[in-house]
C-alpha cells in the first residue's frame, strides 16, 4: 500500500510529486499524459521566473523536474473509479488496481464537446479540439471556429494566416474574449462573425464537408472543410463518484485541499479553486502534497 497516489501529471500533479518526493513519501503517479493543459498552451507570459515560455517548453521543464526524483509512474493510464474502504483508498484504472493511504486528485480539465450529430463521427476527420496542433493541416480551406472566448479567438488568429475563409460561430450575442483579439478578428476580411448562432449538425462523407447552423432564427448550411471546437472545458472528475462537486462538476476543496472524504485531497483545475492558471495549479499541488503529508503524520 502506498502513502500517496497522485492522479494527473499537469502543473498541479507534477508539483505535488516534487513535494512528495522531497518528503520521501512512498507514492505513485497515475496519469493519461504529462504536462496536462500546460502542454497545449501557446505562449505563457505570466509564470513567474519566465518572462516568456511556450506551453510545451514549460511542460517539459516540469517533467524534467519531476523525473529528477525518479518517481514511480503509470502513464498512460486512466482512473475509472476511486473508493474509500476503511482506512485506505482503492483506485481502479483501465490497467489495474492500487491501494493507498491518501490520494491527490489533480486530473485537470478537458475540452467541452458540442454534443451535436456528426461530432463523434468526424472527430479528427476535419473536426478538432486543438487548433494549435492540427491547424496547419487546414491551409487554403474554408473553416468554422465554434466559440466566442479567448481560445476561439486564438484559433481564429492562428487560422487567419493560412485558411481561405473563416466562420466564427458564437452562441451568444457578442464575442467575450480580450478586446485586443476581438479587434484583430473584426479587422480581417476573411473572417465572418456569426453571433447568436447555434451549431445543429456536422455533415460530410468520410471527412467534414459542412456545418448546419441556426443563426437569428434561420437555418444555414455552410460548406467548410474544417471545424475547430473551442467552447471551454469540463473537469475530469467523473471517476470521483463519492466526492462532493459543485454545479460545474469541479471537486469542492477547503483551503487545505481537503475534499469531503478524509485522506482524499484535490488540486488544480479539477477543483473549485477560483481562477484556473498554471501558477495557481502548481501552488495548489504543493499545498495538497503538504496536507497529505500532515494527514499521514497525524495517523502514525
Amino acid at each position: 500500500m502506498y502513502d500517496l497516489i497522485i492522479i494527473g501529471a499537469g502543473p498541479a500533479g507534477i508539483t505535488a510529486t516534487v513535494y512528495a518526493a522531497r518528503k520521501k513519501m512512498d507514492f505513485l503517479v497515475i496519469s493519461g499524459d504529462i504536462g496536462g493543459q500546460a502542454a497545449w498552451s501557446g505562449d505563457i507570459e505570466n509564470y513567474t521566473g519566465y518572462q516568456f515560455i511556450t506551453g510545451p517548453e514549460l511542460a517539459s521543464k516540469f517533467e524534467e523536474h519531476m523525473r529528477k526524483y525518479g518517481v514511480a509512474m503509470k502513464e498512460p493510464e486512466s482512473v475509472l473509479d476511486l473508493k474509500k474502504v476503511d482506512d485506505k483508498v482503492v483506485v481502479k484504472t483501465d490497467k489495474g488496481q492500487y491501494e493507498s493511504k491518501t490520494v491527490i486528485i489533480a486530473s485537470g480539465k478537458r475540452s467541452r464537446e458540442l454534443s451535436v450529430p456528426g461530432e463523434k463521427e468526424f472527430k479528427n476527420k476535419g473536426l478538432t479540439y486543438c487548433a494549435t496542433c492540427d491547424g496547419p493541416l487546414f491551409a487554403g480551406r474554408d473553416v468554422a471556429v465554434i466559440g466566442g472566448g479567448n481560445s476561439a479567438l486564438d484559433a481564429v488568429l492562428q487560422l487567419m494566416k493560412i485558411a481561405r475563409r473563416i466562420y466564427l460561430i458564437n452562441i451568444v450575442s457578442h464575442l467575450t474574449g480580450d478586446p485586443v483579439m476581438i479587434e484583430k478578428v473584426h479587422e480581417s476580411e476573411i473572417v465572418t462573425v456569426m453571433n447568436n448562432a447555434r451549431v445543429l449538425e456536422i455533415t460530410g462523407d468520410g471527412m467534414v464537408s459542412g456545418i448546419k447552423v441556426r443563426c437569428d432564427g434561420e437555418e444555414k448550411a455552410l460548406p467548410v472543410g474544417g471545424i475547430f471546437v473551442e467552447i471551454g472545458l469540463i473537469p475530469n472528475s467523473h471517476f470521483a463518484t463519492d466526492i462532493e462537486k459543485n454545479a460545474l462538476g469541479e471537486i469542492k476543496v477547503d483551503c487545505h485541499n481537503r475534499t469531503n472524504i478524509p485522506g482524499i485531497f484535490a488540486a488544480g483545475d479539477v477543483t473549485d479553486v477560483p481562477e484556473k492558471q498554471i501558477i495557481i495549479a502548481a501552488g495548489e499541488g504543493s499545498k495538497a502534497s503538504l496536507a497529505a503529508f500532515k494527514y499521514l503524520n497525524q495517523r502514525r
Binding site: 499524459d33 504536462g35 479528427n124 493541416l137 468520410g206
Partner: protein
C-alpha cells in the same frame, strides 16, 4: 533489423513533441515530417490515415494515429 519510422507532425502539437521525445529516448531513429510546411506530405498523411489529426507515426508502413505509446512499443518490439 531497424524498422523505418516516419513521424508526421506539426511543431506546435504537444503529443507530436512527446512522441518524438519518446522515440529519441528509446534510441529509435526516425524521419520527422513537418506537415505545417510540407503540404504534399500533409495530403499524403490525410489520404493514408483517413483522418486529419497529428501525430501520425508510420512504422514500416503500419500507421499509428496519435501518441499511442503502447502501440508504438508493440510495433517496434520495445
Amino acid at each position: 533489423m531497424n524498422k523505418k519510422v516516419k513521424v508526421y507532425s506539426t511543431p506546435t502539437c504537444p503529443f507530436c513533441i512527446r512522441a518524438k521525445q519518446f522515440l529519441k529516448e528509446s534510441a529509435v531513429s526516425f524521419e520527422d515530417i513537418d506537415v505545417s510546411v510540407n503540404q504534399e506530405a500533409a495530403q499524403e498523411m490525410i489520404k493514408r490515415s483517413g483522418q486529419m489529426g497529428v501525430p501520425v507515426i508510420d512504422i514500416e508502413g503500419e500507421l499509428i494515429v496519435g501518441f499511442d505509446k503502447d502501440k508504438i512499443k508493440r510495433s517496434l518490439g520495445l
